[in-house]
Symmetry: C2
Subunit: 176 residues, 2 copies
């Protein structure tokens, strides 16, 4: 499956595309950021993010999209912009009929490093290792977007396995 | 000028269209809400809001759009949804090349009641009076959207007057 991860932000919106199948090695197809200038009005920045993301979707045709779930943290102004950028990412995907899943930062960190409290550098290092890259992807927003895509493939696999196990148990229980 | 006001929200997104010119009586063209069911995923709700707003824009062809500026308040979960719904409203307008202005709740209250701390009922009463309606528009989100549109027309007029005054002063200063 091909997953596009989005680390939403008004100034830098990280994007990463990962392809992989359950139990096989994952492969990075591309990563980068959609940037918008801080001098612009928010409405214009959101439009630029929409256009930038549309181009990523057109080029890479993802089957699934993973977006970071935004929480209200310390910096309230930043959080608003992040929430708005994430809304644009969700819209672009849903308009194309592509399923969107939200993952919290802790879920992503735990998926790629084993700890929900890992530092940014550790996430970058693990993304580099998992995708067998020569160097950590830059900027960090691009690495975070790849981590989201990896998290989604791995968590999806786990929940698919659990669902399959439940289904097979039920099938056995109901066998006459 | 014809202004579409949007009081953003995931559950109820208020919309109100007001037509008016500086110094003349204002007229309500329409008001209502775009609703989305709480059971849906956020991404699907945002898509429904986009479609709902597109229909309002198609029907009423506003020249200007006023959206409530979202602040982080007490209820953090609600604020996130509000920020995301406002992003959709800004996108729909900007994509059509329609200028968007954000007004804070206090600016809107002050514009229609004279006090930035007015209660919701007072805003509804003044919207009813200003637009010469038979009864306060319901739900309150629709009344708030109309208040936003009124605020925009009145504030716009004031700032246009100031801009015109500044321009004429400059013109006089630079006269040889």
């Amino acid at each position: 499956m091909r997953v596009l991860g989005v680390d939403p932000g008004l100034t830098r919106c990280g994007v990463g595309v990962v392809e992989g199948a359950p139990g096989r090695a994952l492969r990075m197809l591309a990563c980068g950021v959609v940037r918008t200038p801080a001098e612009l009005e928010v409405a214009d920045r959101l439009l630029q993010i929409e256009r930038g993301l549309e181009a990523w979707f057109d080029t890479h045709r993802p089957e699934l999209v993973a977006v970071e779930r935004v929480f209200a943290q310390h910096n309230v102004r930043t959080v608003m912009g992040t929430a708005q950028a994430s809304a644009v990412a969700m819209l672009v995907a849903t308009r194309r009929g592509i399923p969107v899943t939200l993952h919290t930062p802790s879920e992503v960190k735990a998926a790629v490093t084993g700890s929900g409290r890992a530092e940014k550098a550790q996430v970058g290092a693990m993304v580099t290792r998992i995708l067998r890259l020569d160097a950590p992807p830059k900027p960090a927003d691009a690495a975070d977007a790849l981590a989201l895509a990896i998290c989604h493939i791995w968590r999806g696999t786990a929940s698919q396995r659990i669902a399959a196990a439940v289904a097979s148990t039920r099938a056995r229980e109901y066998r006459p």
